[in-house]
Amino acid sequence: MDAVHPSAWAFVVVALGGALLSVSLRNILHAIFGLALALFGIAGLFLYLGSPFVAAMEVLIYVGGISVAMVFAVMLAYSLGKKEGGSTRRFLAVVPVGGFFGVVGYALLRASFAVTSKTGSWDLKLVGRKLLLDYNVVFEALSVVLLLAIVGAIIIARRDEKTGDDKTADEKAASKGNDAASAEERAS
């Protein structure tokens, strides 16, 4: 059994620190940046776990995609003014979370895994081949899911035709800035 190099702890610190920030910060935008940090740390852990490709994908999609989309959403649906959950809520949440952590952690510590030294081929070509041969149905299904998600997201997020604007596409594109500006106004 060969352990991962201790320098991975640096990424653990980054990941957990980012996660803590994202959980504890009151400002939702700050929380999103905390999440980005955590995701970056997790990507680093992936690197140490032997898969630079997955790490790259994590950064590309999570940090560069999902976090950015979240920030965008916050800008469009800006409501930082609301108070975050009070102490009662936090206390109530601690019970299930602590219970979960305790039970699973205890089970983890008691469990023994048949750990072997790093085995098998980590070749990226193998991943690609498996993805397109063994798991091609899942792959195709996932692509369909993504397509549906895009279409669905557009439909859900589109403004109601009756109430909303009947602007042309160009105007819409141009009005993006206005939306942000009005968001800005609400913020100040």
């Binding site: 939702i28 852990l45 776990l49 997955v54 609301k82 859900i156």
Partner: protein, 101 residues
């Protein structure tokens, strides 16, 4: 770092995500929590891949699927948040209680 360490880190991340889901009042806060939990699962997959399994490609593929699904989920969730915000002028979980009682 050994397998148990990774699993514990993943557990901690998951617990933090759960805590976020349970305490955040902003809808995007919930989404953040969900993403953290998904990533915790991904870490578990890759850790087992790294330390236990003979054929590591499968774990990577699963993580890739998780990432892809998370992207789809985030897109949908964000658009739902946007439309909820438009309907309520608020992205607060506690305001979305029309089905209560």
């Amino acid at each position: 770092m050994t397998l148990s360490h990774f699993l514990l880190v993943a557990l901690a991340l998951f617990a933090l995500g759960l805590y976020s889901v349970l305490t955040r009042r902003h809808l995007i806060g919930l989404l953040i929590g969900v993403e953290l939990m998904l990533n915790a699962a991904s870490i578990n997959f890759l850790a087992f891949d790294r330390f236990v399994v003979k054929d590591p490609a499968t774990g990577q593929i699963i993580v890739l699927f998780i990432i892809g699904l998370a992207a789809a989920e985030a897109a949908i969730a964000l658009s739902i948040i946007l439309s909820a915000y438009r309907a309520h002028r608020s992205a607060d979980v506690d305001d979305l209680d029309e089905l209560k009682n």
